[in-house]
């Protein structure tokens, strides 16, 4: 099985990739292991340089020796969870056999914050300066899990050290879905773009119809794609960089921004700042790392960090099973429905559902670049022939009917006009009108779109120590159900013998998927159509873990429900209100059980859970001191909270030190 994966990860025609595949990272055959990197311990050379970054910290005096650089213990691992709010940024430091700063390698997973996070950008700026200091300005591997702002926005923010090249990215790991020229990835990218544009039009339409609350809700769902305030505009980025190839990228992204529709017949569009797309972040990272240092990860692949022999990284997802990825709905028998992972028929169909009604622009004659169904005969967009349709506006009250011109749109007959005026347009019947009901499906489209992107998350399991024996750190990005379930399909490790169930069982640190939402941490394998029974899976197989939830409860609530909280939501929100919370309460409780209360979050240190009102409930167990202390219930693990603060009583990060236990 491992062999067949090999072919998939190196598609024909990309011969130039050989260097990155070996030295960067990924190694299958022991023979390929040699460290071809010319300066295997080059990190040490960065020591002591670029120290000015430390200015960004607040209150670092509490640390007695205050080493800005993060040093991993010999053969040990340090995991730092930054707490900028709803958004991911993790720093992992791996210690080699020699120990010391020279033998420490740095892996950074994501760097972003959600659009609506209060003070998110300011906090993230401070976090990024800490990254510079801690790594000495050199990251061995940067992992960008998926294209959501809460994971990547940092790379586009004003003054970020990546664009300013104060941090060097040695290797960049991306999911295969980011690869251009990969047929499947290209297809997904195209579909996603279409759906996105449809949705934005729907949101505008909803505003035009006088329901801004609902529109902001729909947009709130795709908030993960919206850029926070601190993100620069194209022009600001252009002004801040000198690198020509970077400039080219930014200009290209700017040119591809949708043209604001402002023709006749288009009433309003909400002014949205022309922020770059999140895709630009990935492009910039690729440029900064260099294409030859970029590895596209395929499920089942084994990655290694050069110099740290004891560390292996298994690529779990995103899945690449054609049967599941491709839109293929013609198979199911009556008892079975294929569950798609990515843009399902339902999603794309929804795109169609929305598009025809959102084509006021089409009527106005403008070229409709955003319209995914522009190849459809125009008549097929309408349920009936054009001659049978009477424009809604013409059927409302008119003092007198104009003379019918055969070329003009039709006016209703006297009888129909009477019917509509008496029973539909009359204010008495407003409660029965359905003008906006069809747009409710936009919410579904937004949710689908969001899940689809989450499902493209690069999901990694860091295994450290002898293969198949030691502890596992699980970083699933924001992978949702489809992605999680696909991990069953391959075996991992050099000999391809490790099952994902085994990885779950050995997990000691779990970065909770999607900020603790209800469907991004699995508990159950539903079995298969062949009749296999449902079995425990995911979190249910983990035990005695530390759980990390990069979440801000208040922000998540605001993003999903708008300002008014759940009560202002639509029907779907009302019926599912409990499932929309982050963290989702049942999951949160399961995590507390599995982690024996060792649940670390990015928001308030004291839980806004029912703790105050329920004295019997145990508080979450979190690091209490700036100094390393033993983690309750776990051997060979210590943790601390940072002395640096991101606000009153809000440590910038939590840090966990793991010592290798199996020699």
């Amino acid at each position: 099985m491992g062999k067949s994966r090999d072919t998939s990860k190196t598609p024909a025609g990309t011969g130039k990739a050989s260097k990155s595949e070996i030295s960067g990272t990924e190694v299958k055959e022991p023979a390929a292991l040699p460290l071809e990197d010319p300066v295997p311990v080059s990190i040490s050379s960065a020591k002591g340089t670029k120290k000015k970054a430390g200015d960004g910290e607040t209150g670092s005096h509490a640390e007695p020796h205050a080493p800005d650089r993060l040093e991993a213990p010999k053969n040990g691992v340090v995991v730092r969870m930054y707490r900028q709010g709803l958004g991911d940024c993790f720093l992992l430091a791996f210690g080699g056999p020699k120990g010391g700063l020279d033998d420490t390698k740095y892996v950074v997973i994501d760097c972003g914050v959600l659009n609506s996070q209060k003070e998110g950008s300011q906090r993230l700026a401070i976090v990024m300066e800490n990254l510079v200091a801690a790594t000495g300005g050199k990251i061995d591997v940067l992992v960008a899990t998926h294209e959501h702002a809460d994971h990547l926005s940092g790379f586009l923010m004003k003054g970020n050290p990546f664009l300013e090249k104060r941090i060097e990215i040695k290797y960049l790991w991306l999911a295969w879905t980011e690869r251009f020229g990969d047929e499947l990835a290209d297809k997904l990218r195209q579909k996603h773009g279409q759906a996105q544009q449809t949705l934005e039009k729907a949101a505008r339409e909803i505003i035009n119809r006088g329901n801004p609350g609902f529109a902001s809700k729909v947009r709130g769902i795709v908030d993960f794609e919206q850029m926070p305030d601190g993100v620069m505009s194209h022009d600001e980025i252009l002004a801040s960089i000198s690198d020509e190839s970077l400039k080219k990228l930014v200009s290209a992204d700017k040119a591809a921004m949708p043209v604001k529709s402002s023709g006749p017949g288009v009433t309003t569009t909400e002014p949205r700042p022309p922020k770059p797309t999140i895709k630009l972040a990935i492009q910039i990272l690729k440029e900064l790392a260099g294409e030859s240092n970029t590895t596209y990860c395929y499920p089942g692949q084994l990655m290694e960090l050069d110099g740290i022999g004891g560390m292996r990284v298994h690529v779990l997802g995103p899945p690449r099973d054609k049967d599941e990825v491709l839109i293929k709905r013609d198979l199911p028998s009556e008892n079975e429905r294929i569950k798609e992972v990515y843009l399902s028929a339902a999603t794309t169909n929804t795109g169609f559902v929305l598009s025809p009604a959102l084509t006021a622009e089409i009527g106005a004659g403008g070229p409709e670049r955003a319209d995914p169904f522009r190849d459809f005969p125009s008549d097929a967009r309408s349920p009936f022939g054009r001659s049978l349709q009477i424009p809604l506006r013409l059927s409302a009250k008119l003092e007198s009917l104009p003379v019918q011109d055969p070329e003009e749109p039709r006016y209703p007959s006297e009888a129909t006009r009477k019917l509509l005026n008496e029973r539909y347009f009359d204010a008495r019947w407003n409660w029965r009108r359905i003008d906006g009901d069809w747009l409710n499906v936009a919410e579904q489209l937004a949710l689908n779109l969001d899940s689809d992107t989450n499902n493209t998350s690069l999901a990694l399991a860091f295994e450290w120590g002898p293969e198949g024996q030691e502890k596992v750190f699980l970083f699933p990005g924001d992978a949702q159900v489809g992605n999680w379930l696909s991990w069953r399909r391959q075996k991992y490790g050099k000999s391809a013998t490790i099952s994902v169930h085994d990885l779950f069982a050995r997990t000691v640190l779990y970065k909770v998927g999607h900020h603790g939402s209800h469907n991004a941490t699995l508990k159950r394998d539903p079995g298969d159509s062949a009749g296999a029974a449902a079995t425990p899976y995911g979190l249910e197989l983990m035990d005695d873990i530390i759980a990390l939830i990069p979440v801000d409860f208040a922000t998540a609530e605001g993003a999903f429900f708008g300002r008014g909280g759940p009560k202002n939501g639509t029907a779907a929100a009302a019926s599912n209100s409990e499932t929309k919370f982050m963290p989702h309460k049942p999951l949160y409780e399961a995590l507390r059980t599995k982690a024996k209360l060792r649940v670390l979050r990015s928001d308030e240190t004291i839980l806004p859970l029912s703790v105050e009102s329920d004295p019997d409930l145990d508080l979450d167990s979190i690091p209490g001191s700036h100094e390393l202390t033993a983690v309750p219930g776990l051997k060979n693990v210590r943790w601390r909270r940072s002395a640096e603060l991101l606000g009153e009583n809000h440590p910038m990060f939590y840090e966990m030190h793991f010592e290798q236990t199996v020699k």
Binding site: R329, D330, P332, E334, A345, N349, T350, F352, V353, L354, P356, A357, A360, P383, F384, L388, Q389, I390, P391, L392, A415, T416, K418, L419, L420, R423, Y424, W431, R432, I434, D435, G436, W438, V441, Q444, Q480, W484, L485, H518, N519, T521, K523, R524, D525, Y537, A572, A574, S575, N576, S577, F581, P586, L587, A590, L609, S610, E612, S613, D614, D616
Partner: protein, 692 residues
């Protein structure tokens, strides 16, 4: 001058028999169209009739369509427009025809006019004022005259009854299949042209009008019951479609356990969305050889999604039908096969097919009849499948007391095989399943709380009498002002005088619409009387010595499920009419009483569950009873109750039923909030139970 002709009994309207997909296949084309006979009424363009108004606005396409005028002589003379997917006026005609047919089926079985659920709250969630003396059907804020139907409301694979808008919303969509053998890929599919979808949604609306608390999800069966019942009606209406039954009997050689059109629901919808050849199939699952697989009694425990769980109920009822049908045709098969009962290869004789079809119709009528009638024997709240089984058995016993061929066992067996059984019976025998009658001792106590027989008789008779609407509750006394039983009797006397002596004589010219409204108002007045009577009686009980009062409370709580310290809602006071075996009609008075209390949501250990803000989460716990009263004697024949425990006489604050409800609501993630549109024909969200 020629005499004025009487209106015809029926209006004939053409429809697609099942849906348009059958119309484009050679083997089904001959029966893909049907002409339905709809009870005659004068229609305005729309159509707008007594029960229904079709409004064809299509905001998704930013347009409206001309309204069909079915009174047009050109259409009257040819049974309306011919079936066509491309003619919106035909769509309006078809939704009207199928919805009216569904309504007619209910009225025929129930023996009374149906009413739509009243509109209780406005858009802001405030309660609307009740009708006053001067209110008419046009300006009554709560009365819903007509169910509204939007044939082209949505652009998605969906259709639903909206309890808020009192409307049916139908969607249309592009087929997502890639297999042109199913549907034209990308072609437009209209849910309003599917007989099954229209009948299903109409049934939701009718059921909501009969039992408004069935919308509340208090156990895993409530919403599933709504769905399953709507499917049952849709499927049994297949049997009334001319030609379809005979054709299917021919094709299956009389074996209806093989896959056939009668049992298939929403074929086109399923094909167009790539979900096989039926969205739901009443026969259940099929083996490789195309015959019914035996049911799995554990499936029900694994199935929570309302439509899927509803399908189990449908399968059970359909199985009962098949058992009855098969029993009825055993002799025919023997006659046709010279005693072997084994049919030879090839087609069966047309005469045999016709005879089999006759038996199938009889069996289906009995089953449909019982299924609808059983609604009157359901408790008013927290219904589960076991209750429905008991209601079915009770209803059938009332109509067919003898049951010489033991057809009731067909139901018992079909339900048992699917793991459906009531929680509170000692055995699955017919006798145990039937709701119990009140015991004599209990009746002696309960009698004190019931209006006198004369009042009940009046109610049963006046409901359908056109003259009975009062102007201003002239008999009314506030319950707290009634000090003794004489005053109570006085109120009853005024009530009787009002309805017997001073009833207005209706004008002949009054429209059917006015008559329906009068019925609605009359029922409201009865409800007020019942409420006043019982609450006043409760108050009088309070004046008795404590020990005696407590004893009375206990008996009432035990037998009627009512808690004396909680206010009462009277949901319905309407007659149910049926034919007795001796050919005379029998009238009973159906009264629905409910109550509710608020409790705090608890976890399984009994500790209160808090939300993130640290507040407790309220749970609405409802109880109540359905009374079937014999108006001649005033006696209660059945009191079908869900008890609201009365802690003041030893009941628990958190009884077992509430614990079950809380367990369900915790698992379903419901925190007392009610979905606004619970009846989407298919759920937009795919449940992902693998997560948390």
């Amino acid at each position: 001058m020629s005499p004025q002709p009487l209106p015809p009994p029926y209006r004939r309207l053409q429809v697609f028999a099942l849906d348009p997909s059958a119309d484009v296949q050679m083997d089904t084309a001959s029966l893909s169209r049907a002409t339905l006979e709809i009870p005659w009424e004068n229609l305005k363009p729309g159509p707008v009739g007594n029960y229904i108004e079709v409004i064809d606005v299509d905001p998704a396409s930013d347009c409206v369509y001309e309204a069909v005028d079915l009174q047009d002589p050109m259409l009257l003379a040819r049974d309306g427009y011919a079936p066509s997917t491309g003619n919106p006026q035909f769509h309006q005609q078809m939704v009207y025809a199928v919805a009216m047919k569904t309504i007619a089926n209910f009225e025929e079985v129930l023996g009374r006019r149906i009413q739509w659920a009243e509109r209780q709250k406005d858009e802001q969630g405030e309660f609307l004022p009740r009708a006053t003396a001067a209110t008419t059907e046009v300006d009554d804020p709560r009365y819903v005259q007509r169910l509204r139907i939007y044939p082209h409301a949505l652009r998605e694979q969906n259709a639903y009854y909206s309890p808020v808008k009192k409307s049916l919303l139908f969607g249309y969509f592009n087929a997502t299949t890639t297999d042109p053998r199913d549907e034209l890929p990308g072609g437009i599919v209209f849910t309003c042209l599917s007989h099954d979808v229209v009948a299903h949604e109409t049934t939701h609306a009718i059921l909501d009008g009969m039992h408004r608390r069935l919308l509340e999800a208090t156990n895993s069966d409530t919403l599933a019951f709504h769905e399953g019942f709507a499917d049952i009606i849709a499927i049994f209406q297949h049997f009334t479609l001319p030609g379809l039954l005979l054709d299917q009997i021919q094709k299956t050689r009389g074996d209806l356990r093989t896959n056939n059109l009668l049992a298939k629901l929403a074929s086109q919808f399923a094909r167009a969305t790539g979900q096989g050849d039926a969205l739901r199939n009443a026969i259940g699952r099929f083996s490789k050889r195309g015959r019914q697989e035996s049911p799995d009694p554990t499936e029900i425990h694994r199935t929570t999604e309302p439509h899927a769980r509803g399908a189990i109920l449908v399968a059970a009822v359909f199985d009962a039908f098949l058992k009855i049908y098969e029993h009825r045709i055993v002799d025919l098969r023997r006659i046709a096969t010279g005693g072997t009962g084994i049919l030879p290869q090839g087609e069966i004789h047309p005469d045999l097919a016709r005879r089999l079809a006759e038996e199938a119709i009889k069996a289906s009528q009995r089953v449909l009849n019982i299924c609808i009638r059983a609604l009157d024997y359901l408790p008013p709240v927290d219904v589960n499948y076991g209750d429905y089984l008991r209601a079915l058995i009770t209803a059938d016993t009332e109509i067919n007391p003898a049951d010489p061929r033991r057809y009731r066992l067909a139901f018992v067996e079909a339900f048992r095989n699917r793991g459906i059984y009531p929680m509170d019976v000692r055995a699955m025998g017919e006798d145990s399943l039937r709701w119990r009658s009140l015991e004599q001792d209990a009746w002696k106590v309960i009698e004190l709380f019931m209006p006198p027989p004369a009042v009940l008789r009046t109610m049963a008779a006046a409901y359908d009498s056109d003259g009975s609407i009062s102007a201003g509750l002239t008999w009314f006394t506030r319950p707290d002002q009634i000090q003794n039983s004489e005053q109570l009797i006085g109120m009853a006397d005024r009530f009787l005088a009002k309805f017997w002596k001073s009833a207005q004589k209706p004008a002949d010219s009054d429209s059917e619409q006015k008559k329906r409204y009068r019925r609605y108002r009359t029922e409201q007045e009865f409800a007020i009387f019942f409420h006043t009577w019982i609450m006043a009686s409760v108050q009088l009980t309070g004046k008795k010595p404590a020990a005696e009062a407590n004893q009375i409370k206990k008996v009432i709580n035990w037998n009627l499920g009512l808690n004396f310290s909680v206010d009462l809602e009277v949901h319905a006071v309407r007659p149910t009419i049926r034919l007795r075996p001796d050919g005379r009609s029998k009238v009973e008075l159906l009264v629905l009483l409910t109550q509710s209390v608020k409790r705090d949501l608890q976890d399984e250990t009994g500790k209160p569950v808090k939300d993130f803000a640290g507040d407790t989460i309220p749970v609405l716990f409802r109880g109540g009873c359905t009374l079937l009263i014999d108006p001649d004697t005033g006696r209660i024949n059945y009191a079908i109750s869900k008890r609201l425990d009365d802690p003041s006489v030893g009941g628990e604050q958190y009884p077992a039923r509430l614990k079950r409800q809380m367990a369900y609501q915790r698992a379903a993630g419901l925190s007392g909030t009610q979905a606004l549109e619970p009846f989407a024909f298919v759920h937009r969200h795919v449940e992902e139970t693998e997560g948390y």
